[in-house]
Subunit: 544 residues, 2 copies
Amino acid sequence: MTATTASPDVWSTPLTPLAFLGRSAEVFPDREAVVYGERRMTYTQLSAEVTRVAHALRACGVTPGDRVAYLMPNIPEMLVANFAVPLAGGVLVAINTRLAPPEVKYILEHSGATVLVVDAALHDLVDSGLGDLPELRHVVTVTDPAGGVQPSPTVPGFSYDQLLAMGNDESLPWTVEDERSTISINYTSGTTGRPKGVMYHHRGAFLNSLSEIIHSQHTGRTRYLWTLPMFHCNGWCTAWAITAIGGTHVCLRAVDADVIWDLFDKEGVTHLNGSPTVLVSIASSSRVHTLDREIVVTVAGAPPSPTVISTMTGIGAKLVHVYGLTETYGPYTVCEVQVGWDALDIRERSRLMARQGVGMIVTDGIRVVDEHMQDVPRDAETMGEVVMRGNNVMKGYFEDPEGTADAFRGGWFHSGDLGVWHPDGYLELRDRAKDIIISGGENISTIEVEAAIDSYPGVLEVAVVSHPDEKWGERPKAFVVVRAGETPPTAAQIIAHVRTQIAHYKAPDQVEIVESLPKTATGKIRKVELREAEWAGHSSRVQG
Amino acid sequence: MTATTASPDVWSTPLTPLAFLGRSAEVFPDREAVVYGERRMTYTQLSAEVTRVAHALRACGVTPGDRVAYLMPNIPEMLVANFAVPLAGGVLVAINTRLAPPEVKYILEHSGATVLVVDAALHDLVDSGLGDLPELRHVVTVTDPAGGVQPSPTVPGFSYDQLLAMGNDESLPWTVEDERSTISINYTSGTTGRPKGVMYHHRGAFLNSLSEIIHSQHTGRTRYLWTLPMFHCNGWCTAWAITAIGGTHVCLRAVDADVIWDLFDKEGVTHLNGSPTVLVSIASSSRVHTLDREIVVTVAGAPPSPTVISTMTGIGAKLVHVYGLTETYGPYTVCEVQVGWDALDIRERSRLMARQGVGMIVTDGIRVVDEHMQDVPRDAETMGEVVMRGNNVMKGYFEDPEGTADAFRGGWFHSGDLGVWHPDGYLELRDRAKDIIISGGENISTIEVEAAIDSYPGVLEVAVVSHPDEKWGERPKAFVVVRAGETPPTAAQIIAHVRTQIAHYKAPDQVEIVESLPKTATGKIRKVELREAEWAGHSSRVQG
């Protein structure tokens, strides 16, 4: 076939989320783009600040491909960075604000960031470590009045206002030359080893943004509450998605259930993303009441429990359950709700909705494979590793060819998550490879044990980890948080209950009632911390 | 920056709408994919038939890049073709069923189609012309009981059932090697010259599908009524979009208002696309009644009039006004409804909604330019040509490098449409370049004159074209259709009314009351036909 083609520029332009802000500034100039307390920015103002910061970063010496680090809560400056850094040609490295100073320093060093923009309240994370970072040329401090903290006098550099003064208002093109060039590097803190720098490209960020608009049903009337950290997978690409659809970003400095309820009521919030933990905290607030409009809550990080599903549905929320990893731009699968599910009782519906589901609309789908990369049977029983590929998989780990090659072995991205494949093609996670308990040669899914305990009356949260056992190698131990005002159950009561739900050998040997569970910035329970305490002094724990 | 990258296959796969059917067959196997009278196909059945037809086409000798022509109304076989032909590696050429036999023959010849699949009721379009098409190897006839027509004995070839028997059920990958390879060629009948073959690529089709899901707000509960011909820009890419979201295609052999109302009521239709003409016919039906659910009507082809907008809104429809050309995969712009518009009165709201708007979410936006490719001022007055570029612009005209180069001159696709740019960045079309009337050196927009006449009580439809004038060169003439039961106005009444709305010199000299207006298959008024009748015997008409 003789195809008649002319310059590809006319009919094929590189995909980039930058175009989303260019469009929204043009189409919705006066619409509220950002809300933060009393601060308001229209799309005109947002694009103007983005442009100014991009110029300022160039004035700071940022050249194409340079890394620019941000260490900041979910304030407008962090949102601006998601566009300003790539507009300047740079690569955004948004650092987890819950890390310890040595981890932050490692990321600054490994990424080779030339500029760091940091919130004054987080100065303690960098105060002592900035001296010996030869590539870091500028440190810029944002002093947010709502942060209530003055900059540390020992952190060098200049203020965000001074940064802005270095910029100008001349418009820059909302384009990129190569859609496969890197837009951001998100460091993921493995539970072992050093954090790895997950590289996203413009093409993947663009496609995943559209995918999230579709699956979370965003519209131009979306008022999105930033409960999910923007440093986490660029907020699952939501920084770009909400901007694309012309919605409103409602910023949030810290996750506080009372503040969230204030914003639900005052700002007309329509959407939020978060882990079940965040939902538990919202639903447990004394301020809880039925909403006068539907809020779409996109939940990930752990399967929502029947209690979370029924509580959130009860107040007028609609849950969208998604699953992914930093390596997949955030969400990769969605538990698509089938037509008949509405009619099911809450227990059955929750059971179905707790599954991680199927590949989102722009993905290549998922596979669950055995160690030989063969699909496991779709029998809801055989466990295998979840693998993914396609435009929503990272380009690789920054400056870590071995790590990348290992993650991509066999031509697929290996998630390290273990799950079963249901006959209807839905994935259900059983465990992180490192969380699975191998007791006398039998696999015990900690998620399954947790679900059984969660159904005991009065249980608010639960985490199950392995603890060492002379006879079995390892056995499950449960940490249980009880709802306020409830009488804590005894270990025997919990164990007896679990045995009514699942196989006896899966019931925990030990149950500890605790005040709270250790969590990551994104609300995931830090099982590694619980597990390490159990295994202190033992060397036989094979899964790290 | 040293980027660490591995095999792009893991993290970058070619975009193709084929993946949409692969996913929906996997995720929604039992969902109703296609409804056609009593016929029902689930997504499992749709993907099975697509697979079988793809194998059969290969058995017919279709190799990568070969063109496969379809001449067919909006029946399930036509929908299947949108996936089966590219799955076989071929390029779909869906031919306009309203063309004359010589035009159909020209397209078969020019495209070099090796297979033609034709509905028995359209045999008269090909009966005499198939003899001397050396590249055409197979003719396949679909005999649709609802068509009520038996195949012509003189058309060679075999039946669709025989085609199906040549296929098999072995699954084929829902992938493509090169996302910029051609998926379809849509011949656009220029009003002068030969039809041109507009080439779409997989990437553009994929992106425009997502864009339509977003702008027309499709969900898995969409039940889409096929009022828009599938041969027209692959149904504005809706054949792919509805499949992507797991909606239901409600097929429709012919646009008949009573049948449409039946399907609204019986099939729970939620969405349709069409021209204002189709909406007028729906709204004028004796069956008209208020809907018990919102129907989203995506309208293009001409700006919807205030009457159409208020009537459709009155019965419970929500209008989405889009604009594009065959060369832009169908819709390229959308009249984004701004937050305050709901509160405006119907006249003002209609005036705003009648504008063609802004580039859709995946586009590169539009420009309105003068003859030197400079942007015209955004003053709502200065006319210029609408130009577009990016992933939603065709690859070019098939085997027509000169035509392609001309359409792409200056690095932009030239639409041939004239419009003004409003201060808010919204495009408003004034005319096709060939429709504009130049009277004594002044431009007169026929669309503007039509809008003025449309606001006269009792007017159902109107078309304005140039007619020859000794003194002014050309002057406007109006053809007016009056609503059933209304007393036709006099020419003097119409002219007097128009002068209350727009400049006196723009009022028509002649007004002719007619029973109906000539229309294209997609419901556009064929102004060329009206104009040619006026200019018969004159040679001075400069715009063709």
